[in-house]
């Protein structure tokens, strides 16, 4: 009688409560039996192993279930990143050609797609921007001062392209050498997307030539105004 009238089977919540209870109980047995400091060390080791294996399983699905290979690969990856730091802005190479380091794994990028400040397209060799809420494509966008904003780049051309934002120039204090300030996305193939987050600290009135976005190898530049 009760069974037919109950909203859902009672077994699921009951079983999960029992299972959780069992896990908690077993953990408590182990943890209470080792000394305080040894326990901390033990669990740090266990947690690290779990995290590393999970990382590898996610990062290199082919490593799944091959722990030794996995640990070696992790070492190799870490060594490589510590030397090259591909995500550091200072190492970005923004030309039209493929950069050996910076464009590595370009396809792995995860992009914010909705509600970005602007989407920059390149199509038939021409670059232009679109803003949500505004019908027509534009060649000028406004970015509020000192705020992180996201600009999405979508390549609709056959050729690979990257988007570059020019942020003026800066004289290096010691040498007096004038360096260009710029930032760019990785190369995107046809129908691929890349996201660039920028934060511009100074308004356009502080700049000699203002700011602009370009797609090397494509026509058309997009003026960036910082009020």
């Amino acid at each position: 009688m009760v069974r037919t009238r109950s909203v859902g089977p009672l077994e699921y919540p009951a079983a999960s409560a029992v299972a959780l209870g069992a896990v908690a109980y077993l953990f408590s047995r182990v943890m209470l039996n080792v000394s305080k400091s040894a326990g901390a060390a033990l669990f740090i080791v266990i947690a690290s192993v779990v995290v590393s294996v999970a990382f590898l399983a996610a990062y290199r699905p082919s490593f799944r279930g091959r722990p030794l290979v996995a640990v070696l690969a992790l070492r190799a990856q870490l060594a490589k990143y510590s030397k090259e730091d591909p995500y550091s802005i200072t190492h970005r190479e923004c030309g039209p050609e493929e950069s050996e380091h910076y464009d590595h794994h370009a396809g792995n990028a995860v992009n914010l797609r909705a509600n970005v400040l602007a989407t920059v397209f390149v199509k038939d060799g021409k670059a232009y921007a679109e803003l949500i809420g505004i019908k027509k494509p534009v060649n000028s966008i406004t970015i509020a001062r000192s705020n992180d904003v996201n600009i999405l780049f979508r390549n609709l051309d056959e050729k690979e392209h990257r988007m570059v934002i020019h942020l003026g120039e800066k004289a290096v204090a010691e040498t007096g050498v004038v360096e260009k300030l710029e930032n760019c996305t990785q190369l995107a193939g046809k129908n691929q997307e890349q996201l660039l987050t920028v934060n511009i600290k100074k308004p356009t009135i502080a700049m000699k030539d203002g700011y602009k976005i370009e797609v090397p190898g494509a026509e058309g530049e997009i003026e960036v105004i910082v009020p």
Partner: protein, 415 residues
Amino acid sequence: MTNPTDNTAGKKQDMKSTPRNPRRALAGMVAGSGLLLTGCATNAPQDIFQPKGPNAHDINQLQKLVFPIAGIVGVIVLALATYIFLKFRDRGQAIPSQAHGRPIVEITLTVVPALILSVVGVFTFRTIFDLAETQDTEMVINVTGQQWWWEYDYPVQEDFGINQPIITSGQLVMPVGTKVLLRETSRDVIHSYWIPALNGKKDAVPGRINLLRLEADKPGIYAGQCTEFCGLSHANMRMEAVALSKEDFAKWVANQQKPYAAPAAGTLAAEGEQVFLNQCVRCHQVNGQKRADGTAVIAAPDENVYSGAAPNLSHLMTRNTFAGAMFDLLRPACRKDVWSAKPEEFGAKYLAGVSEDCLNATDLRAWLRNAPAVKPMYADPTKLGPTDGKYRGMPALGLSETDIDKLVAYLLTLK
């Protein structure tokens, strides 16, 4: 320490007697109906039931349908429940025979609410889509929230005579009868933009752009406030939308683009500009301001303020409130003259800005003397560890009264 046993005993007694105490019950009822009566206020600028533009009007129309339906259903359900509780309350009678399932009742009880909800749903969806319409936008304004004020910037739009970007704060100035699209974002935490007379609320979220459409039927000032809790001075984060006729709006635009004019040498205002250069330009930008050597003054709010911004003061005295619209720049009499002006006369009065005679010097001076004392902010230099020494809000600058005199004279020239 009090004895815990005694304490609970006292409480129990209290709890028993409370509902039976007729005086307390009466007091509760009076307070409750007092609360209800506040709904009848006539001078309520943030009343959602008095729409002043088509978007708010759409919402009000929907409300006129949904509220009565929900109200009738609510009254019926409560009345039935009360009836059942009273009629079948436990008087020690025997438990009557129990039955399970009565298809006709169950089907009715499913179909009737489903019908009601679909009616409500159809109208709700229609309103949501109407409000989300942006294809026919006529004008765009960027809105950026930060603790605890709003910044507005107007991208270049030749159609409206905007040839260079305009930047202002607190009061959003817009032309009447124009579909204005706000592109909202935030520099720190989530805020929410809400001018009840013109539209519903829309969150301003860091890293994202959210759209909100405003349109006002008549010239006037429409009050609003931030509606997403955003920290210490959330309650003091207010704003206003100011609607001007198209001609007046064009005048406003022209004035906002007027180049900077430094005060004449030898005046009190000129001395004030020096104080300003020493004390204020590390945070506040005044477009076009130059140093003695001719270089442009560029503020560095990114180095001093956590959100990275402080209000642009280029045309401070064209607005009539300040500090997140918390204080008036106009003395009460002058304020009343502008705020309650007839729609035909409003534009000219608003465009007159703040004159020396009309300036609310008391509040402005208090602000310059010690801003955190009049608006709660994180501005104690010894407690800025979590933000790497950057302020959230404007700090107290320890200015002398003569410096304040000079500054006020200078600020009055920023029109």
